[in-house]
Symmetry: C2
Subunit: 149 residues, 2 copies
DNA sequence: CAAAAATTTGGATATATACCAAGTTTTGAA
DNA sequence: TTCAAAACTTGGTATATATCCAAATTTTTG
């Protein structure tokens, strides 16, 4: 089967900032250089370098020093969850009077503290919407879980 | 008029833990002792003592050393917002398949990062519900704002 | 009033972020 | 191809939050 299985995760593993790094790296796809990330996230390259090391140690990234990083399989799967979480929560808030931009900004501040369990329930309760306010929503893992329960 | 006005706040002023302290103190009403808070929040009294100092310095509490703390007017108004935020967000999540307990727990983790602006919009969009899943919701400040716009 | 309980202070640790300066590696232009 | 510039990493430092323990202080109480 093509469906890769990863150990369970709560969705609370990473700090807000680390979530930013992974989302940024996923967007760029392929190998990403330190400078690119530093510009994107507006931080000193030395900060990026350190954070990349931490994410690599935790198994989310492959880091070839001086060369760049790319997502591991775990990192890819995890980051797909991060993106789905962001989009589901943003979409949710637009149903309560927030504009897409407001919703995105708001969610960016707190998303790292919303569990996968909650996201899956919300997602399911919304009928697994395909379109968020900041991109398409893919439900691989989410629907997968649901099938098995 | 009885309606006290306070400088604007974003709702993002306090860390998650400080939010816990204020909510706990509001619940108890009147003067609260360090030990009481320490037991309630499961932390060492020395930790409580330090946090209480910080909250007092920031103007949310009156702290009489060795005697206890109580909310200032600002602290009271602010904490009422904190409680409303918690209840509105919890109620919201119960509309998406989370049980009241799950919703409360989930919200406790991220509420500190949800702005007053967003809460007011959500609240308004929900029709200023009077009952949450963990207590009555009062809308003093929320409705007040709305009248002026 | 003196011992016990409560509280505070000082010192230490841990995590998360981030900067600067200095050193290392890669790149690219002459 | 070589060597200077650019990119990257490391080491050191800093702030903010949160926590504990041990020691000192204040209040309470038997």
């Amino acid at each position: 089967m093509n469906e890769q299985s990863y150990p369970e995760f709560t969705g609370l593993e990473l700090s807000p900032r680390k979530v930013d790094y992974l989302k940024f790296i996923l967007e760029k796809e392929g190998t990403v250089k330190t400078t690119e990330i530093s510009s994107g996230l507006q931080v000193d390259p030395s900060t990026t370098s350190k954070t990349l090391n931490e994410l690599a140690s935790a198994g989310y990234l492959n880091h070839v020093p001086y060369r760049g990083v790319d997502l591991t399989e775990l990192g890819e799967a995890y980051t797909q969850f991060l993106v789905r979480r962001h989009r589901i929560l943003s979409l949710l808030l637009t149903h309560y009077g927030l504009s897409p931009e407001e919703a995105c900004d708001e969610v960016s501040r707190f998303e790292a503290f919303v569990s996968r369990e909650a996201v899956d329930k919300i997602c399911s309760s919304m009928g697994h919407p395909m379109f968020g306010v900041c991109g398409e929503i893919s439900h691989g893992k989410c629907l997968h879980e649901e099938n098995h329960h």
